[in-house]
Each structure stands twice: as C-alpha cells, then as structure tokens.
C-alpha cells in the first residue's frame, strides 16, 4: 500500500497586489481543547508542560512556536504543537479542518475592512488578538500576528472562496490608490 500523499487546501499559493500579500500558511497541528465543567485546574496543569495556559477571550498567546488561541467558552485551539494528555478536557484533532491564510502589508486592514464586520485597526485589535467573526459569509478565526499582519483560519472546504474574496478586495484597493486624484 503506497504512502498517501498529503495536499494542503491551496497548495501553498502566494500573491502580492499593491502593498498587501496573501499567502497560505502551514500552522502545523491544530487541536481543540474544550474543558469539562470543573476541569480548569487539571487542564492548566497539563498545559504548563508547554508553558501555556487557557487564553483570555479574544486573544492568543505564543511560546516557543506553540500558540494557544481562544475559540469559545472554556475552549481553545492549540496550534503548532502536539497536545499533551488532558483528561478533564475534550481534545479533538482539527488539523485538517482548517485552511490558514496570512494577509500582511500596509493595506491589510483596509482589505479586510471590505469583508470583516469588525474594527481591525491596531487600537481595537492589538497584536495577540484572536477574534471569531465573519469574512463575508464564512465563519473565520482571525489572529493579529503583527502590526500589519493577520492569519485567518477558515473551513478548509471554503479556502478557495476565502482566497478569491480577499484577492478581489486587494485588486480593488490597488485600483483605488492608483487613481488617487
């Protein structure tokens, strides 16, 4: 039985238009951690091994390449590291469920302002922010990874639609700035 070849949702696409770069990102394994009622302490202990803890709402923390992203009530996604055994939490592999797109560059906020019903300017969404919201009609998790950088997690089967929509906004924004009077 030959080895099965793996394929990412967008096969590593990358595109720059104007000041904005759009690219598929490999964030490594993704594991959902959903704490059972009363299980917070046990989970905290389990996560200490990675130097991490369950994050505050709308934020993510990073330690040595491993990120823990808030994704709901007593729920988080562990990115980029294998999840330690946590007996008082529901641990579920989500690695293949999501495609991750990075949107970076000076115009990144304006591009996302075309589709995301949230204020993504630094003041309202600082680096280390993680928000569950919409990109047009798709549910997404948006991580603020830099002053001019975001990573957007979207359902893998919808990756092409997400890419198309961000790309169309990039072209329109570039056309606007090219015709500034």
């Amino acid at each position: 039985m030959p080895e099965l070849i793996a394929k990412s949702a967008l096969e590593g696409r990358e595109l720059t238009v104007g000041t904005v770069t759009l690219a598929e990102v490999d964030v490594g394994p993704i594991t959902s951690i959903a704490v059972f009622p009363g299980g917070a302490k046990a989970v905290a202990k389990g996560l200490k091994a990675l130097g991490l803890a369950m994050p505050e709402p709308n934020s993510f923390t990073e330690k040595k390449g491993a990120r823990i992203v808030w994704t709901g009530r007593e729920q988080a996604f562990l990115l980029g590291a294998d999840c330690p055994a946590l007996e008082s939490a529901a641990v579920t592999d989500q690695s293949d469920g999501w495609a991750v797109l990075s949107v970076s560059g000076a115009g990144a906020v304006d591009v996302l302002a075309r589709w995301v019903p949230l204020d993504l300017r630094l003041g309202a969404c600082p680096v280390g922010g993680a928000v569950r919201t919409q990109l047009n009609h798709m549910n997404v998790v948006i991580l603020r990874t830099g002053d001019h950088a975001f990573e957007i997690m979207v359902f893998r089967s919808m990756a092409r639609t997400a890419w198309h929509e961000v790309e169309s906004a990039m072209h329109m924004l570039a056309a606007r700035s090219a015709t500034k009077i």
Binding site: M1, P2, E3, L4, I5, A6, K7, S8, S32, A34, V35, F36, P37, Q75, A89, A90, V91, T92, D93, Q94, S95, D96, G97, W98, A113, R114, W115, V116, P117, L118, D119, R121, G123, A124, N136, H137, M138, F155, R156, S157, M158, R160, T161, A162, H164, E165, S168, A169, H171, M172, A174, A175, R176, A178, T179
Partner: protein, 969 residues
C-alpha cells in the same frame, strides 16, 4: 453662459462630453448640469405624467428634473442626477422619458389632456371591458410610465462594500460640519467626515461671506488642511450617508469611479456600513420652491442654486434674471449677479414690509402669478395689489425659505417638530440615539449659528469620550431669519408642487375633496412625494396646501414617514460581492478535481459540489451511466465521496446521556466499536434529521448528520446543551472538515478495503474500528446506504485526494469504479432508505414507520409534542414503496384508481423515484393515507405537469434484500 473670475473649476483642463448626440465642452470640476448651463442648454428632461419640458432646478442631489441616462461602453445608468454627475473626458449622457426628441416629445399630448388626468383618475376608469385592462390599458400605461431605462444587459461593473468604525461621524462639511470635525479632531477623537459633494465646504462655497475675518473659502481651506493632517480624521468626499440604523450603524454610499472612465478593478461605487459612537448631522437645509401658475418652466430655478452655479462653477443660467424670494438672505443672489455684470430685471418680494433698496427694480408685497416660454422661460407676470406687471426674463431665481435636512433623524419613526417662527420642520431631540442635528439641519440658518452649534455638538461628543479640548469659534454673520411663509400663490391655473410626478395644488385639493384627508392618503392618492426626489422639493408645501384645504394647522396635518435611503442607492452597490459565484461560499470535496478529470458533471448539494455521474465513452445520457454504476455496485464494488455528511465529535462522561436526550432511541448502551442509526426530532415532535452515531470510546462518540442539516443540528445541540444541561460532562465540536470519508460498497467491497489496510480487520455490520492506511491513522465503519455490504473509510482530509484516486483505480481493476449522486440515489431508493426528500419537516416517526424507535424508557427532545392527536391516526400519510412498469415521477399525487382526481380525493404524494436496473421496474417512495395498511393495493399516480397517469403497486419500501443478508454477509 460662463462668466470669468468665478467658480472652483479648473479652466486649464477643458473636458469634452456629449449630451443627446451633441458635443459640448466644460471644465474639470463642472457637473453635467453646470456644463450644460454654461453652454446655454436649459431643456434637459420631461416630467413623468404630462411630459412637460423640464430644466435644472437645483445644484444638489435633491434635483427632481435633470435626470439623465449616462451611457457607458457596455451598459447605461438611468436616472442619474446631472447636478451630481461630474463631467469627465468622453462622458456620454442622454435625456430620458420622451417619445421622439426632447424638443418634440409626442407624449406631451398628455399636457393638453390634463383635466382628465387629475389625481387618482386611473382608479376610476380602465375597468371596462375587463379584458382591456391587461390587453390594452395596462401595457399603454406601463410603456408611458417609468423614467430612465436599464440596458437589460448584466451589470459587469465593479462594486464593493466596506465596514468603518469611528468615535464621531460628521455628516456634511459646511460650517457646522467642519466646526464639529475640527473640534473632535483636535481633541484626538477618531473622526469620519462625510461630504456628499466632490468638494468640501457646503454653502460656504456658494454664499461667500467671511469667517474670523478671512474669506469663507480661505477658512474652509485652512480647516481642511488641518483635518487632512490629523491621523485620527478620515475625510470621505463623494460619500452620502443614506440611512440611520440601530445602535449607531449608518449606511453610506461613496461614488468611487463614477467621475472617471471605467478602469479595471476600480469600483464604480462602495457601500459603507459605518459604526459611530456619536454622529453629528450637519447636512444643511434645502431651499423651498413656491407654487405659482406654470412655475415649472426650464429656467425657473432655486435662488441658492443660481448662486452656487455663479460662485462654484462660474456659470449664469440667464441674461435677464429675476428673483422671487421672501427672505433677506436671498437678496445676496441678486447683488452678486449684478456684481458679475448680469442684468437683474426685477426682485419680487411678497413681504409688504421688505426693503426696496437695491440696484435694480424691486416689487414688494408682490407675487409672481404666471410665466411664459414653451421650452424655456421668456417672461413672468407679477401681481402687485390689483396691478399685473409683465417682465421679460429668461431665468427666475425663486426661494420660499428653507427646509432643514432632517431626514436621517426621522429614520427610526421619529416625527419632526413644526417650528412656527421658522415655518419649517426641525428634528425632534434624540429621535435617533447618538445623533444630534446642528446648523441649518437644526434650523440655525446663519453662518454663526452653524459654527456655534457645530462646535457645541463636537464638544458634547469630546466630553462623552472623556477627552478635553478648547477650540475658539470664529465670528461670522448672524443675520436673523425673517420669513413670511409663502406656499402657493392664489391663482386659477396649475401650480406645480411635485415637478417630477406633475402634482399640482389642484391635485392636493382634489384629494382633500374626495376624503383623502390624511397626509399619507394625500401622498398616495396624488403620488406627491413618490418621485425620485422623494418630496424633498414638495412635501412641506403640499402638506401646507392640504392643511389649508382641510382647515387644520400644519403641525396637526403632520408629515409622512421618512425612510432610508436619503438619496437612491444602486442595487449593485448594496449587493456588491453577490454577483455570480460570490453569492454564497463554495465548498469543494478533496475528490473534486479527480471527479472532474473523469468528466463527472458537478452539481450543487447545499454549498458543496458533488459528482452527478461518471460518464464512460459512448454513454450519451446520464441514465446510461447511472444504470451502469448501480449494477457495478450491486455486482462488484463502487467508491463514492461522502465527506459532505456532517460529523460531530462528542466527548465526556455524559456524552451517552446527552445523545439519549437528543435522539429518540438509546445510545448510552451502545457498545464501544459499534454504530447505531439514530432518529432526531425537533421539539415539536416532527423529524429533524437522521444518521448513524458511532461509539469510538467509553466517553467518545461520533455523530453523523445529513449534508443538508449539518449546521442546523450543530446549532440544535448547542441549544439543548447550554439551555438544559450546561453542567453535564459533555463537550462537542464539528469535525466535518477534518475527515475525508469514502463509501466502498458491493460484494467485493471487503476485498478492496482490506487491500488498503496495513492489518485487515473483520468488522461486524454496524461496526467501527481505527485502522492504518498507507502510513496514516484512519477509521473504518461498516455501514451501508446502498444495501450492499458496505464500508466507509475515513482519513484526515489532507490525504483525501490521494486515497480517492487509489481506491477508484484499484476498484476499476476489480470491475468496479466511482459512482455519483444519481446512482447513490437509485441504490438507496431500492433499499428504501430515506433522505430529506422524505423527512421534509412535516413528518413524524410514526409516518415513516419508526415509532418503535421512540424509546419508552427515557425522555427526549420532541417526544411529548409527538403525542399530540393530530400527529397520529389513519388520515395521516405514511411512507410506502411504489412499483410501476411505466415511468413515474416525484411530486405526482396518488389517487384510488377510478376516483375523480381532485384535492378532496387526494390520497398522498410521491417523494423519490428511479428506474431500478436491479428490480427492473420503476420504483418510488411516497406517502399514502394509512399506507402501511394498504400494501399490495393499486394506486393511480397522476402528474399533470409531466402528463403522467400510471397505476402503481403499493409495497413495502425495501425492494432489495429486505432481510439484509448482503449487509450482514
């Protein structure tokens, strides 16, 4: 004509454009209206009903008359306001709503028939003979109605939508708006300043005067320079705030590329959703026309518009101008025109105590009572006391005072307040939470009033934001607004209120005469205020005429409802992104490309695309492929991608208990490694969804839902969990996207599957086990939707395409191959399995013969409501199988053979059908009254739409392998 030394246009940049086939030239910064007036073109349109000649009335977006079609290379835009369309090189526009040329419009015959076309005439006629309404009258009316024309071609233009957030949204950039933006901006607040026009400054650009000792234009330039330099201030020109919605949300339309030739990716328009903590409405006021006989001729314009064309565009609309106005402010127009060398034929002021001291003849206590000039004004008649004076004039500037632009403050059903001394409606305080009106929009008509109230509103917002700032208010004119309200001049002839819909004071009086006394009845009966300008130029005067005709005050008569949008917004802008495939996300299977490579047509299944069938060379119809695929599964082995089914991972000590609560049957007793079919009800007792759930571990289940109900079920589980058992030890998350899952079905399925497993496994029917496939951890289920021995092989999605290609290739070596949705549907019908065609939301467990699955030992969602009497009984239709030798159809209805075919004799309906190569007959599933008691009977299947009338045999839904030996082989 153009005058020198005036206007903010760029005279170094001439711009050529075309109107109604003739070429003209204007300058950069001109609007189509100003450029046409500069070329002495006065006739620009025709009115809706009487097709009377229409000329430019205003200089803003409230323009009722100068509506044109802008013709692009591949499309055209109707009803464009010439007063807002900036000219650009190569602009092509044409007049609309005419039969023949603009000068000789055959429809103008209506003007002579006007006595018979009074308000509401069409309610009283066109009723005889009955067939004539749709045959003759209506088609004529429809062809005559409407203004501009759509091209009928798809709109290929680029449009966008965007979100914006701010502390303070300032609407309008006149003195009040600039002052509010400056105050908030200097305090460091996050400000957005929207201005409808392409230049900022509002009335200051037209009325001149001085602010803080410097000319108004210079003050505007200095404030704009400061605002542009502030990083916390965003200026949005060409952006109209169109609607006020809940909780500080505002709609706004930005004209992005309409003033340029089309460019790739440059949006024509952008529809903004702006969320503001505080909003300042500084939208100014709209000047009011006066209704007098034949006050609608081209050349009769608003006084403020004449002033704007002079000072912003260096254009004078006439050579001998007259002014008819009832305020001191309006006199400025006459003085500035004379200063620019234009002849002022006369000033007519209805106020008997008005000043007569001007550099031109002044008639005080006088009124204009008529006008002449078919296609453009040539003279007016003035009545003073009993004397009638004839005056030659080609441009009459008129002003009946000002209406504050209060629209946005009334978008939440707030009614404005009538101010007796201003003779105008002013906003009601707090009608829209967070929105405050300032300047002329609030009845403060002087420049000082605007600056002071704009500053005050800015300070209020700054304090509310916890900031501090001190900004001096520069001094400016504070002329009192002394107005003697003049709505209509007494006279016999027709005096226009609504220039576009041709509604005169006679029509309003007729409405009152016929009992339509409410202002809403008057509006609908006369269509006053229902034209493109939505009554901006006529509403207040019309209700004043109605008040007089019904013996009530204006305040008591009241206004009609203000509704978004403030000015019309294109469907393409508000629908940006919806065009073509943008309307909804596309979800692709990992096997998508592999299926397309094999020529499989992909069909929409919810948001997913799934292969319909896999045609082989020589096969011309889908049925040929489908029959082959069915036989292939029955006789060899078939592979199908079933990844679209919803998959929900459920963990925790109480997971079993939780499933018992949402499913009718019991799952807490399911052994680890086994799978069970579950039926899920809505709380109203009807079937929500069905599917298999597997127990992977002591506290670990995997629920499968149908493709269609995946989202619905997830939301349902969240509700049941959070509302009724939030404290249980159970958590769940969707893993639909994490697994690629393939059905392998047929007598050779086990051989195919085992050839992929690193260590073959003997799975019992309805069993599940972890497996290793090609170095990858997967799962193997032994479940079957085809009725054959069947498995479902699941691997992490990244390996999906690879596994599918290998499975199909190997299946083909065994006489099998891929099968699509059509074959899958035939297989499941042959086996009597249901889909949402059967569980369509009006069906109980009893109806589909599954009442025994409703466990008596435990409660579950929907159990109680399912016991309602109407949910049981023989009159309900029950699931049955149907067999026929002739083609049958889904959607047909069932009758007792020989009975009359009518609703009362209807016995049921057909939900799914197929030609079954396995059984060699047409098979169907459907619902029949008391069906289970009628197996073996004959029923008559009637499909009027497809012309089918077939006798069928009623049978048990499971046609193939009823005892399930193949499943358990």
């Amino acid at each position: 004509m153009r005058v020198d030394g005036k206007g903010l246009i760029d005279r170094t940049k001439p711009v050529r454009f075309r109107f109604d086939g003739k070429d003209y030239a204007g300058y950069k910064g001109d609007t189509l209206a100003s450029a046409l007036l500069a070329n002495d073109v006065r006739l620009v349109g025709r009115s809706f009903k009487y097709h009377r000649p229409r000329g430019v009335l205003t200089a803003g977006s409230e323009e009722p008359n100068a509506l044109v079609e802008v013709v692009g290379p591949s499309n055209q835009t109707p009803n464009v306001r010439a007063t807002m369309q900036e000219v650009f090189e190569g602009l092509v526009a044409q007049s609309q709503n005419r039969l023949g040329s603009l000068r000789f419009d055959l429809m103008a015959v209506n003007d002579y028939l006007s006595p018979f076309l009074s308000a509401g005439f069409y309610y009283k006629t066109f009723m005889w003979p009955r067939a004539f309404w749709e045959g003759l009258y209506e088609p004529l009316i429809r062809r005559a109605a409407g203004l501009g024309s759509l091209s009928g071609k798809h709109d290929e233009g680029t449009y966008e939508k965007a979100f914006a957030f701010c502390d303070v949204l300032v609407i309008g950039s006149g003195p009040a708006g600039l002052m509010a933006a400056l105050t908030a901006g200097r305090a460091g607040a996050d400000v957005i300043l929207c201005e409808e026009s392409h230049v900022l400054g509002g009335r200051l650009l037209s009325d001149g005067g001085t602010i803080g000792g410097q000319p108004a234009g210079e003050w505007v330039a200095s404030v704009l320079a400061e605002l542009q330099a502030l990083p916390n201030v965003r200026i949005m020109a060409r952006t109209t705030v169109t609607g006020a919605y809940d909780h500080g949300t505002y709609g706004a339309l930005e004209r992005v590329g309409l003033h340029k030739p089309a460019r790739p990716n440059l949006p024509r328009e952008c529809f903004w959703r702006i969320v503001a903590k505080h909003a300042v409405l500084a939208a100014g006021a709209l000047e009011r026309p006066v209704a007098f006989e034949n006050n609608d001729r081209p050349g009769i314009m608003m006084a403020s518009a004449v002033r704007t064309y002079l000072n912003r565009y260096g254009v004078v609309p006439g050579k001998r101008v007259t002014l008819f106005a009832n305020t001191d402010q309006a006199r400025g127009v006459a003085r500035e025109l004379m200063a620019a060398g234009v002849t002022m034929a006369a000033i007519i002021d209805p106020r008997p105590d008005a000043s007569a001291v001007e550099d031109c003849p002044v008639h005080v206590g006088a009124e204009v009572v008529g006008s002449r000039g078919r296609l453009g004004l040539s003279g007016i008649q003035v009545r003073k006391g009993s004397e009638i004076i004839e005056i030659e004039t080609d441009c009459l500037a008129m002003s009946g005072g000002w209406n504050p632009t209060i629209h946005l403050t009334c978008h939440m059903n707030g009614r404005p307040r009538w101010s007796e001394d201003l003779a105008a409606f002013v906003p009601m305080e707090g009608a829209v939470p967070g929105l405050v009106a300032v300047g002329a929009a609030n009845g403060s008509f002087s420049t000082h009033g605007a600056l002071a109230t704009g500053h005050a509103a800015g300070m209020k917002a700054v304090e509310a934001l916890g900031r501090k700032v001190s900004v001096p208010v520069p001094e400016a004119e504070d002329m009192p607004y002394r107005l003697k309200a003049l709505w209509a001049v007494e006279g016999k002839g027709r005096a226009w209120l609504d220039f576009a819909n041709d509604v005169t004071t006679k029509d309003v009086k007729l409405a009152a005469q016929e009992g339509f006394r409410s202002v809403e009845h008057m509006k609908r009966y006369t269509t006053q205020g229902m034209a493109p300008d939505q009554g901006k130029n006529s509403n207040v005067a019309a209700l004043a005429v109605l008040a007089d005709a019904t013996g009530r005050g204006i305040a008591e008569t009241g206004v009609t409802t203000f509704r978004p949008p403030y000015t019309p917004v294109s469907i393409a802008a508000m629908g940006a992104g919806g065009r073509a495939e943008g309307f909804a996300p596309q979800r692709f299977l990992t096997s998508d490309q592999a299926s397309r490579d094999r020529g499989a047509p992909m069909i929409e299944a919810g948001l997913w695309y799934r292969p319909s069938y896999f045609p082989k060379p020589g096969e011309t119809t889908w049925r040929e492929a489908c029959d082959r695929e069915v036989n292939m599964v029955r006789q060899a082995v078939g592979v199908a991608d079933v990844s679209t089914l919803g998959k929900i991972d459920i963990q925790g000590r109480d997971a079993g208990k939780f499933l018992d609560f949402v499913y009718t049957n019991t799952f807490s007793t399911l052994p680890v490694g086994r799978v069970r079919y579950g039926l899920m009800l809505r709380e109203d007792g009807l079937v929500l969804d069905d599917g298999t759930s597997a127990r992977l571990g002591e506290n670990h289940y995997l629920m499968t839902t149908t493709t269609a109900a995946a989202g619905l079920v997830m939301r349902h589980l969240d509700f049941v969990h959070q509302a009724f058992c939030a404290d249980w030890q159970v958590r769940f998350i969707s893993v639909t996207e994490s697994w690629a899952q393939f059905a392998v079905a047929g007598p050779k399925a086990r051989g195919l599957v085992n050839s992929f497993l690193e260590t073959p496994v003997e799975l019992p029917f309805m069993g599940v086990a972890p497996v290793r496939i090609g170095g990858v951890d997967g799962r193997l289920f032994r479940i079957s939707f085809s009725g054959e021995e069947g498995y479902e092989l699941a691997v992490p999605t990244r390996y999906g395409e690879a596994l599918f290609r290998d499975l199909v290739a190997r299946a083909e070596t065994m006489g099998g191959g891929p099968y699509g949705m059509e074959a899958l549907n035939v297989l499941r019908i042959e086996k009597g399995f249901i889909t949402h065609a059967e569980i369509h939301g009006r069906v109980t467990a009893h109806d589909i013969g599954m009442e025994k699955m409703v466990s008596a030992k435990k409660d579950c969602i929907g159990k109680a409501a399912a016991t309602r009497p109407g949910m049981w009984g023989p009159e309900r239709e029950q699931l049955v199988g149907l067999k026929a030798s002739a083609p049958i159809s889904a959607g047909a209805h069932l009758f007792v053979p020989g009975a009359e075919v009518h609703r009362e004799t209807d016995q049921g309906y057909v939900t799914s059908i197929c030609w079954s190569p396995t059984v060699g007959a047409w098979l169907g599933l459907g619902f029949l009254k008391d069906g289970r008691a009628r197996l073996g009977e004959k029923v008559r299947l009637v499909d009027h739409l497809r012309g089918l009338d077939v006798i069928c045999e009623v049978c048990h839904p499971v046609f193939h392998d009823p005892d399930g030996e193949k499943l358990r082989a």
